[in-house]
Subunit: 94 residues, 2 copies
Amino acid sequence: MTKLNPILHQELRLSIISFLVNAEWVDFMKLIEVTQASKGNLSVQISKLQEAGYIEVKKSFKGNYPHTECRVTDAGKNEFENYLIQLKQLLNLE
Amino acid sequence: MTKLNPILHQELRLSIISFLVNAEWVDFMKLIEVTQASKGNLSVQISKLQEAGYIEVKKSFKGNYPHTECRVTDAGKNEFENYLIQLKQLLNLE
DNA sequence: ATAAACTAGTTTATAATATAAACCACATAA
DNA sequence: TTATGTGGTTTATATTATAAACTAGTTTAT
């Protein structure tokens, strides 16, 4: 059996990665916008993806406000591709 | 945002439904074989799919042994189709 | 200047979930 | 007749997901 990557097989994390693979640096509030998640939830899931090494997180200030940006890593891209392959297999897609 | 059906967005339940949509009545031990799940886990997830109305469960005896068979319901098929659509959208597939 | 409201997050308490281990009722074999 | 196997179910535990509460500051209005 396939055994889907459990870090990726979660809706919010999947939404995040899925968006990031087609983008460059994306900031926290943009991710809030596209995922419609709560800030707390987003914060936690970003940390998990970062700990897994799937995304890179850059913190700075934009004007006077804190500013967090994320970008998918090569490892993240690979795992995501892999996840897609296994998921398609499980679902008999393609 | 899409909000994936949480009953379906779980690996084992997804494996079960995904197999059942291309089959008729399938028995417990066959599902163990195709999913490689433990009996306990399979039992629980079958119950959840049944409670959700996504599968129908028929219990009988085969020889002297208990025998459990499952079949996807129309509702189950619909929800599964829906899940696929939303998932593809989330993942930018097709 | 001070309070009120807002920005951009993080931490943490709680509930929900997933999973395997332990169990059950019975059957068959030794 | 006891030991092993079948086909499950129940339940204890750990893990996870999530929103509420909080932090640390900023801007605006008074």
